[in-house]
Amino acid sequence: MARDEGCHRHRLESRGVGGVAVSRFVKECRREWKRLRVPDSVANEMAADLTADLAEAEAEGASPEDVLGSSAFDPRSFAASWAAERGVSQPPTARVGSPPRWWPIAAIAAIAVALVGALLLIAPKPGFHFQIGSSASGVTVVPHSSFRGPPPGLAAHASTLADHVHELGGLILIVGIVAMIATLVWIWRSRAGGGSGWSSPSAA
């Protein structure tokens, strides 16, 4: 039932945009042939024949479904089937339906980067604690009561350094989180296959 609704929607789109739908269909086929490493000369030939046939059909008032049947709703399966039957396709470098082999490494690297960032972010400041407060005369450094602390110049320098480390930690954490999200999206897209879920042509 859902497939029927999808077919109906696609049929309406095809009628609505005419040649645009044809070129989109052929473009999808080309993408699949490229993924299947079909030689360019063969892919160009198939694309040209398909375009010419669909254009002729359209000029005669026929729809892409009249030429391609149910394959009109699934350009990728159609293209894959055609190339396979011709014996011109090769196994794709990255198989659709499964994430790339290096995804665990990417995921671990992203988590490691995020962890390093988090550690830098929560790392304690140097052992001499001080407060920076304002007074009428300007900024005053108030050392921790139990520790006299280093000279004021060195303390300020250490504080600045600690702030930079924290900023760097925050930055690395953000990079790590973005990398984790990117890895998850990549895995999800790989599993989804990047194409539609239409059926393959069965009659041919």
């Binding site: 030939e45 198939m46 040209a48 024949d49 398909l50 010419a52 046939d53 669909l54 254009a55 002729e56 059909a57 479904e65 009249d66 030429v67 391609l68 049947g69 149910s70 394959s71 159609f78 089937s81 055609w82 190339a83 396979a84 039957e85 011709r86 014996g87 042509p201 069965s202 009659a203 041919a204």
Partner: protein, 114 residues
Amino acid sequence: MATTGRHTQLLRGVLDLCLLAVVDDGPAYGYEMTKRLRARGLSIVGDGSVYPLLGRLERDGLVETYRAASNGGPPRKYYRTSADGRRMLVDGVSEWRATRDAIDTVLNPVESEV
């Protein structure tokens, strides 16, 4: 639904013969063959298209191809039966007729009772 499925299954075994038969009528390009099949009352495109099947026939050396200008359109890839294809067509038609006759023998009594 079951009838549609059986129809598809029955067609699947002889589609290559049907396609070879219309190619044997004279050189034609893909869409032209779709139209020839339809003109003979066979609309196979409901379940697919002729292109993958033509690809298989080409790969198996049962059809030969060449490019030529079409009527007012761009150059097209034309298909024609090869010598092997012609032999396969003749043999296949004999097989089909023998199979059809055998099945008719089984099914005809049922038909007469209905």
